[in-house]
Amino acid sequence: MSALPFHRRHGTRLALRYLIALVLVVIFVFPVYWLFIISFKTPDEIFASPPVWYPQSIQFANYRVLFKDGDAATVGNSLILASVSTFFAMILGTMAAYSLARFKTGGENLAVWIISQRMMPPVAIVFPLFLLYVWLGWVDTYFGLILLYTAFSLPYVIWMMRGYIEDIPLELEESALVDGCTRWEVLWKVVLPMARSGLFATAVFTFIFAWNDFLFALVLTRTEVTTYTVQVTHYFGGQSNFWAKIAAMSVLGTIPVFFTVAVMQRYLVRGISMGAVKG
């Protein structure tokens, strides 16, 4: 009695799952589609009611304006700030993580203090930092923001890398020590290759955190190192918005992240699950 209905129901169940999956994809992807599509629309198409669901032709005028006015350079700023700070955060963070994982430096207390830094709300530290930066002349400089992003990413990098390093068999490092490596060489020749996938996953997330930052950039940049997130908000108006620019700028700022995630995909899936398990 029960075996047959099960088999008959199997097909319907799969169809139902597909239906739900499709509805979900439409709901979650449509806004992204809308953002992209507006960036290719002409003003007439943007300001049409009822809205134009798909444009008749793709045109790049909205992007051309951004490049002509120099607004697109803010994406370059974001790219510099996020990649340089990720680079430094990975180096300093991995070193610190190795120290914590292998030598238990400072005991569990130091490790907990470091992760607690991550809970610090940006808005609570940005104000005193702003005053410090004004005094030091670091406002609106690459150096100032890179320093800030590096420091702000450190707890995450240290926490993640500590987990990955603890998974490396100690014997590999000891063997390298006996074979004639210095401590630094062990870090470079054994630990880094062994933690490679974790290193990549952590780097991508660190990059995305810095890339997505809005508040720090809003407060600590003026004109020189404005990031793309701040630039997008410049097109918001009280009465009317520069829709074409908002959309085009957002797309410009989204593409590098889509690209990075697509390339690094296989490391990320493991990174998410392992990182989550380890906390």
């Binding site: 014997e171 063997s175 390298a176 006996v178 004639g180 062994m194 490679r196």
Partner: protein, 357 residues
Amino acid sequence: MSDLKITKLHKHYGAFHAVKGIDLDVPEGEFTVLVGPSGCGKSTLLRTIAGLEEASSGKVEIGGRDVTWARPRDRDIAMVFQNYALYPYLNVKDNIAFGLRARKFAEPEVERRVTRAAEMLGIAHLLARFPRELSGGQRQRVAIGRAIVRDAILYLFDEPLSNLDAQLRDDMRVEIKRLHQEMGRTMIYVTHDQIEAMTLADRIVLLRDGMIEQQGSPLDLFERPATRFVAGFLGSPKMNFIPATATASGVKLTDGTELALPAARPLKPGQAVVLGLRPQYIAMAGPTLAPGHARVPVTIELVQPTGSRVQATMPLGGTSIVAELAAHDVSRPGEKTEIDIDMTRAVIIDPETEKVL
């Protein structure tokens, strides 16, 4: 000159005292085996020699040089680890070459040595493979290869065979013995397996609770154990221990059996002792009683064949003893028979001090 000299070495982990004042002198070219039950401090001792653990006090000299506070890389040692410690991201060749490259050897020299080591170990055809593509035995050979390409004063082995199955373990034991004969280098080998210790060692150092219980040649320790612990640890099947009382000419068991001891021992008649008999020195009663032997009637309880030999269990002196007998003259369980005990090899132990008298 000795290649390794350890003086009054102590190692504490917090309140735990792992190594308690060890003195050890290993001459050049000797194969020394550190053996003992788990937790005896043998691995800690080896790791302290390697510089992977820091000594709490005492002195370690390698090749006449004080290296107590030297880094592992400055000690001129090579080491084979229990879990092989192969780098999964390097192929066999690069794994073996790792130590040479870390020491900035010229590439032609690296090539020459790797090839030679690989040939010695019969893994020349595996050089391009990665560790995950190798069997357990092959991985073990690569791990050994990584140590022997180096020109070290001291070669350390930390239970290298414990992860292999029984058959492979026997093969690799022969291999390691052969390597030692060919290279003639000083090797220190840690194991908990007394058979490995007996077969490989020029000298066995038996450790217990962080101290050296006894050291000497395998035969020395087997024939002349200093304590009950040594007597019980070495040899398979284990030595039989029978409670007894000393008499004027020998010992008397609890069931009244009297056994004469051929050589004089420092025993006071009436003193409580433990008689130690190796299963190998008990045989079925022959046509004549050899000098120094004692003949005893027994009833065989249990028979475990191991091929050409059998292990027979029988009650004697209020306890149960094991004898290793030739397979062809063993009777069925329950049979009454007689055995000859070689009393020249008997060990008499003081039950108070556990020392051999």
